[in-house]
């Protein structure tokens, strides 16, 4: 098969780029890490990180699909983690999780309403709520402790909410239950996006809001819904992370909004809206967390860490872009 035969496939599936980048990186990591990267324990860790960041990324991808952006998810994640831990010891983990996710939905609704009712750019609105809820999280953590002792985390509800791993076989440490939530999220959203009117409306709203509106799509409602779903997913991710750690500080989720946005772009979502790929976005998450873990297991000194992270993000975006340009050429 010649290289040119790949072109139509790459053109049609915007996520192919990130898949190729991922394959390339995985081969590179395996070849250069002397088995330190490609072992069961590390893969399990990467999957755990991918689970929480991935859930957040799915939500961000939906919002990007409508042509908006949500960079408040890092703080939503943090708030949800704090609420969950606060209530889990006082009330009940399941109720706590519900409350935390509801708080995520509320933050999403707050963003969505401001964006749709006032016509304010979502970047600014969500930048504002990013700061509002980060400040709130820090203020809360200076007054209260947010943790559940390890030995008290035996109950089933803790286990289900990211508390431990499933499928331990031999030396394989298993996969965090958070990863199952991610799979569930991916399946549900993929069905909604591909097989239900909601998906059509969502992409239409992002592709051409005016045309969608003229065909009777309530663009505002679609956008609001996307923001709420995004808040819910970020909240759920926060719950799962808190469930795993059993403890949280005011910096929970810091910078994750940037990683989630970068994942979406790497995964072939157009920031202008109208074209997203959930699988691609998740692959972007996987690539980012793989890179991070590679830098750790190779014991890259911390000062080099962020240089490389910054360069790789830009290079991966550039590589993906060039690949698609190549595919678009005759």
């Amino acid at each position: 098969m010649s290289l040119a035969a790949l072109k139509p496939i790459i053109r049609k599936h915007s996520e192919i780029g990130i898949f190729l980048v991922a394959v390339f990186l995985v081969l590179f990591f395996v070849a250069t890490s002397e088995g330190r990267w490609n072992n069961a324990y590390n893969i399990s860790t990467i999957l755990q990180v991918t689970a929480t960041l991935g859930l957040m990324t799915l939500g961000v991808a939906l919002v990007i699909g409508t042509g908006e952006i949500d960079i408040s998810v890092g703080s939503t994640f943090g708030m949800a983690a704090l609420i969950y831990l606060f209530l889990a010891v006082r009330v009940d983990p399941a109720m706590a999780a519900f409350a935390a996710v509801a708080a995520g939905a509320a933050i999403g609704a707050f963003n969505g309403l401001l964006v749709t009712r006032t016509g304010t750019p979502s970047l600014i609105v969500t930048l504002g709520s990013l700061m509002i809820f980060r400040g709130l999280a820090i203020a809360l953590t200076s007054g209260f402790a947010f943790s559940v002792p390890y030995k008290d985390r035996g109950a089933l509800s803790y286990f289900i909410l990211g508390g431990d791993n499933l499928f331990r076989i031999g030396t394989f440490p298993g996969v965090n239950t958070g990863f199952l939530w991610l799979i569930a999220g991916l399946v549900i959203l993929s069905i909604a996006l591909k097989l239900m009117p909601f998906g059509n409306h969502l992409l239409a709203a992002g592709g051409s809001a005016a045309s969608a509106h003229s065909r009777g799509v309530r663009v505002d409602r679609v956008k609001l819904r996307a923001f709420i779903i995004c808040g819910v997913l970020a909240g759920l991710a926060g719950v799962l992370e808190a469930g795993k750690l059993g403890s949280a500080d005011g910096s929970m989720g810091r910078m994750m909004e940037l990683q989630a946005t970068a994942s979406c772009v790497l995964g072939g979502c157009l920031l202008a809206g109208g074209r997203i790929s959930l699988v691609g976005a998740l692959m972007g998450t996987f690539v980012l967390s793989s890179i991070q873990s590679y830098l750790v297991v190779r014991a890259i000194p911390p000062q080099w860490f962020i240089v490389l992270l910054g360069l790789i993000v830009v290079l991966a975006a550039l590589g993906d872009r060039k690949l698609r340009q190549w595919a678009l050429k005759r």
């Binding site: 330190r36 324990y41 002792p149 390890y150 331990r168 750690l245 059993g246 949280a248 014991a299």
Partner: protein
């Protein structure tokens, strides 16, 4: 699940034992330090220096230093898990948050990786805490407490004014260790009637100065400033000096306290700008855990008690000696570079 865990641990132990037997005496080891002190903190230099010295002494040991740059528990646990994934021969880690670290550390210990805690211990009673080999380090809470008590003694002796208002200036509002320092200071100041406040100044120098100056203007009764990082003490001095608050160590105006045996802290004390700092024995905190890991690996040693490396107060009397000591570790050039006064 428990059975599976045990089987896993046993298999791992067996593998470790077998490979150990196969490899005779010139065994090569790899120890990883998973730190919370990142490249934005000059104290990282102490730890990496001591690891270097350790490697020179034990050429068959490779040490690795990984850390977060902006501290967060979430990031730190991720680093820890990924460090465990490389199946090292030993791990040194500060127990910043025992609830969050317990799970991964217990798994590592069960898998036969010896763990030494450094800098921050698991504060719980003996039976409940994470079963690490030992703890090497100071105590963040005691750091604040001892410094506060030292300042009160100096005030009693008439060398500095009695406290009327105390501010604990922290550059990272989410950092548990820094909060513990502030809490220690708060405890020391209780009963003096002085107002105590924790101020989040941020790590950005210009913004930090702006914040601190705003605070001092709005709270003119503040006369003790405790900066929880050595490198932010010159900023505090500078701001107070600009405002005519006489920040040097004397019987009037503002008095500044800081932490660390960093050149900037020591030189500030020697110049009479700072009342005191404290040493946690950072160099030892890097070196000693490696030594214990090595002895544990080769001889099966297990220390019977925690090894406290601090806090020790650094003041005008002993600052010269400290300067000499620190110069001998870092070398003159690096020492002078780190002296930002």
């Amino acid at each position: 699940m428990q059975v599976a865990k045990k089987v896993a641990a046993a298999t791992l132990l067996a593998t470790v034992a077998m490979t150990g037997a196969a490899m005779a005496q010139e065994e090569n080891y790899r120890f990883v330090m998973v730190s919370h002190i990142g490249s934005n903190d000059a104290n990282m230099g102490w730890l990496t220096e001591s690891l270097k010295t350790f490697e020179e002494k034990y050429p068959n040991v490779k040490t690795e230093y990984i850390s977060t740059n902006n501290y967060s528990v979430q990031e730190h646990v991720r680093l820890l898990e990924q460090a465990i994934a490389t199946n090292p021969d030993g791990i040194a880690v500060p127990i910043v948050d025992s609830d969050a670290f317990e799970g991964p550390l217990r798994r590592a210990i069960e898998a036969g990786i010896p763990v030494v805690a450094f800098n921050i211990p698991d504060g719980r009673p003996e039976g409940e805490r994470i079963p690490y080999l030992t703890y090497v380090g100071g105590d963040e809470y005691l750091t604040g407490l001892h410094l506060g008590q030292y300042a009160l003694a100096q005030a009693e002796a008439g060398n500095i004014p009695a406290p009327t208002g105390v501010v604990c200036a922290s550059h990272d509002a989410a950092h548990q260790g820094l909060k513990a320092r502030c809490a220690g200071m708060n405890a020391a100041m209780e009963g003096t009637g002085a107002k105590f406040e924790e101020l989040f100044i941020g790590a950005e120098p210009a913004a930090a100065r702006n914040t601190l100056q705003s605070f001092l203007q709005a709270n003119p009764d503040t006369n003790y400033i405790f900066t929880v990082a050595g490198w932010s003490s010159p900023w505090a001095w500078d701001v107070a000096n600009d405002m005519g608050l006489s920040p040097d160590v004397d019987n009037e105006g503002v008095t500044i306290l800081t932490v660390d045996e960093a050149p900037v802290s020591i030189e500030g004390i020697r110049a009479g700008h700072l009342l005191a700092a404290n040493s946690q024995g950072f160099w030892l905190q890097g070196y000693a855990p490696m030594e214990w890991l090595y002895w544990n690996k080769t001889l099966g040693y297990e220390p019977k008690a925690d090894i406290l490396t601090g806090p020790v107060i650094i003041n005008a009397e002993n600052a010269d000696k400290w300067a000499e000591l620190v110069r001998s570790v870092f070398g003159d050039e690096e020492y002078d570079n780190q002296n930002t006064w």
